[in-house]
């Protein structure tokens, strides 16, 4: 396979978008022709997948990385930004994930979105998303990467707001967009700074010259880019948009908010890992943020009652683990977890989608239960996904999670390792809870008895993803077995990532693995015992026992409320209600300050614009005097 085919990876989904979009926009009859739309959308992504597979098989690892230049995008003065793609082990691997999982989810959507009024729009956006995501992954230039970065954000916004007629959903979409813009802003500043230091944004140049950048500047750039990553990957402090993003159609949650887009932050860290390993302080912070996010989100997932919200918080938690992995220098392990997590979480979301589909839109797990009898296939695949996510060997999640945890232990971050372990335990608990409350026990709503298995077009992707959830981990066995010889993925990815070496004795590694396994098995056992026996009663019991803590969990640590106060109601409340220092601390004053001052300035200007001509003239005169004073001062 020739590397010259690379542009078609992006081009095919883009073509699909343009075709669906234009036909749908200009030819109303096309909008009702669902088969045509669906087949077009699925086939372009499937073709892209085949193409990626061809490149993966056809290009020997020794020849990578390759640079494929499409054309010169910007060439002005001393700055040039070509549209160029970078084919290396990392980008090729991500491409496979995006197109593979993407194709399955496209297929699933054909069934899930049937009869939807915005069918054509949905598939057009979905194709556009794939194109943007591939652009992000394959870009050889950080500016181009940013283009993809913005593109996926836009698609996410459009798809969350797919049912925009619903005000709440439209609001969720806007929230996701605005929160992401905060991260993007930091990202862009980081890019500009990087450009200033290095004089180019080409990946090759940037990574080569990373060592020459002065260390404080490097740290600041790293921090800014990391802040961008926290926005896209829903980490503290910018995670609040992801739970709300569940307002979109479920396949969208599976594709964008679980498998691909939210992992862009992890990808960015891995992509720039040669830069990050030079500033250990930033890495430490990344690890800390990741561990904290993993822990907090896992506790919140434990008490959610909306099936998709459980999965959303779970995603945040897993992403936190990936950041932890990246933060301790195990970038390839983090990408490995992106890979296994994509299968298991997409599977769980699609399973949840089938459940919601079968129950005619019901999302509250308190009104489910006993579904395993009515939907055996969904149950089986969901079970596999849950167990894989919980880290039960030999399913996929175990391997990648273990790789990150041993790296954390090996690099001397014992506390963070312990936090990771605790969040693994919590993961098993909430997955067990979800599984039991949805599929086991007695039905708690009449709709359950009418539930039925989804059509074949939706079942097929479930099976495909389930295979992945089971087997995806087998490409990366721990060092304990085969002394690294069986860790194929590590060797493949380490060509592109700058992993930190960590010397962990085999004994300690064995201990860590044993602990992980114990935690997984024990946690699942606990969950089944607790919720399997008592059902919902267990929730109530926990609520009674834990009291305020539980309430705090349920409200998501009230972060939402605090953000709400800082974001949304700054004008109504003003500064009359002084915020408690702790709240201010959690919320990160900067974000609130920016938006608050924007609205403050806005209303101030409106008040100044009184329509009074003399006032306008007065302001002009003041401005003129200001100019005069300035020039006089400069010339005297």
């Amino acid at each position: 396979m020739m590397p010259q085919w690379t542009p078609y990876l992006v081009g095919l989904p883009l073509l699909g978008f343009l075709l669906s979009g234009l036909l749908g926009l200009l030819w109303p009859r096309y909008r009702r022709w669902e088969i045509g739309i669906g087949v077009l959308a699925v086939s372009v992504v499937a073709l892209a997948f085949l193409l990626a597979l061809g490149l993966f098989v056809g290009l020997p690892q020794e020849e990578l990385p390759l640079r494929v230049v499409l054309y010169q995008w910007i060439a002005s003065g001393d700055f040039a930004a070509p549209i160029a793609f970078r084919l290396d082990t990392l980008s090729l691997w991500m491409t496979l994930i995006v197109t593979g999982v993407g194709a399955l989810i496209h297929l699933y959507s054909i069934g899930y979105m049937r009869g939807d009024a915005g069918y054509w729009r949905y598939f057009a956006y979905l194709n556009l998303f794939i194109a943007a995501m591939l652009l992000l992954v394959l870009a050889d230039n950080l500016l181009l990467l940013f283009l993809g970065w913005e593109g996926v954000g836009l698609c996410s916004y459009l798809l969350i707001g797919h049912w925009y007629a619903d005000r709440e959903k439209a609001f969720a979409a806007r929230k996701a967009f605005v929160v992401n813009r905060i991260g993007d802003f930091a990202f862009l500043i980081g890019l500009l700074w990087l450009f200033r230091e290095v004089g180019s944004l080409d990946l090759g140049v940037v990574l080569d010259r990373a060592g020459a950048i002065e260390s404080t500047a490097l740290g600041a750039i790293g921090m800014l880019l990391f802040l961008g990553a926290t926005g896209k990957s829903a980490q503290i402090p910018l995670y609040v948009w992801l739970p709300d993003a569940m307002a979109g159609p479920t396949p969208v949650s599976a594709l964008i908010h679980a498998a691909t887009m939210v992992t862009a932050g992890v990808y960015l860290l891995a992509r720039l890992s040669p830069l990050y390993v030079l500033s250990p302080g930033v890495l430490g912070l990344i690890a800390l943020i990741g561990a904290l996010t993993a822990l907090l989100a896992a506790t919140m997932a434990l008490v959610q009652t909306d099936i998709k919200k459980v999965l959303a918080y779970s995603t945040i938690s897993q992403l936190g683990l990936m950041f932890l992995g990246a933060g301790v220098g195990a970038f390839s392990a983090a990408i490995f977890h992106v890979f296994t997590h994509a299968f298991s979480k997409a599977l769980l979301f699609l399973g949840a989608g089938s459940v919601i589909h079968a129950l005619e839109g019901e999302q509250d797990i308190r009104r489910m239960g006993g579904l395993s009898r009515h939907m055996p296939l969904t149950y089986c695949t969901f079970l596999l996904g849950a167990l894989a996510l919980a880290g039960l060997p030999p399913l996929a999640g175990f391997f990648s999670k273990d790789m990150m945890l041993t790296a954390a232990l090996g690099s001397g971050h014992e506390v963070l390792w312990f936090l990771g372990l605790v969040s693994s335990l919590l993961t098993t608990l909430y997955m067990g809870r979800l599984l039991v409350l949805v599929f086991h026990g007695a039905p708690r709503a009449p709709a359950v008895s009418r539930a039925h298995e989804a059509p074949a077009v939706m079942r097929l992707p479930l099976v495909g993803l389930a295979v992945g959830a089971v087997a995806a981990g087998w490409i990366g066995w721990p060092d304990l077995l085969g002394h690294g010889a069986w860790n194929w993925i590590g060797r493949w990815l380490s060509d592109s990532t700058a992993d930190l070496e960590h010397g962990l004795s085999l004994g300690l590694e064995a201990l860590s693995i044993a602990l992980s396994v114990t935690v997984a098995v024990g946690g699942l056992w606990m969950a089944f015992r607790l919720w399997g026996r008592a059902g919902l009663e267990a929730d109530h019991m926990l609520q009674r026992r834990l009291g305020g803590l539980y309430a705090l969990w349920q409200s998501g640590y009230r972060v939402e409320a605090i953000y709400e106060r800082l974001f949304v109601r700054p004008l109504l409340q003003g500064s009359a209600a002084p915020l408690r220092w702790s709240e201010r601390y959690i919320a990160g004053g900067l974000i609130g300050l920016a938006s608050r001052s924007a609205f403050f300035i806005g209303s101030g200007i409106r008040r100044l614009q009184t329509g009074l001509l003399s006032l306008y003239a007065l302001v002009m005169l003041i401005g003129a005097l200001g100019l005069l004073a300035w020039f006089l001062w400069r010339s005297l």
Partner: protein, 100 residues
């Protein structure tokens, strides 16, 4: 012989008076007269500079300014008439439909 500074100071004073008038008066037509006064003050400066430099450009510009003033006056007064027809008033403090 009066030095150039004398003319320039008179011109500055007239200009400031014009600015003051624009900002103080509420009648559109008088505000407009004050703008004309500002232009005239500038003309005085221009003539003085032209004489100082021995260069006709300044006086050509004054001539152009007169044309511009004439054009502005005709359009401005037409606007005043149109406004008065609709509002029966030319008080600029009363016209504030557009704001915010």
């Amino acid at each position: 012989m009066v030095p150039a500074g004398g003319y320039l100071l008179v011109s500055a004073l007239l200009f400031s008076l014009g600015v003051m008038g624009v900002l103080l008066r509420r009648s559109a037509i008088v505000m407009f007269m004050c703008v004309e006064m500002m232009l005239n003050a500038v003309n005085l400066s221009l003539v003085a500079f032209s004489r100082l430099l021995g260069d006709p450009t300044g006086q050509v510009l004054v001539f152009f300014v007169m044309c511009v003033a004439a054009a502005e006056v005709s359009v401005g007064l037409a606007l005043v008439i149109a406004l008065f027809r609709n509002r029966e008033s030319i008080d600029v403090d009363q016209i504030r439909l557009l704001r915010g």
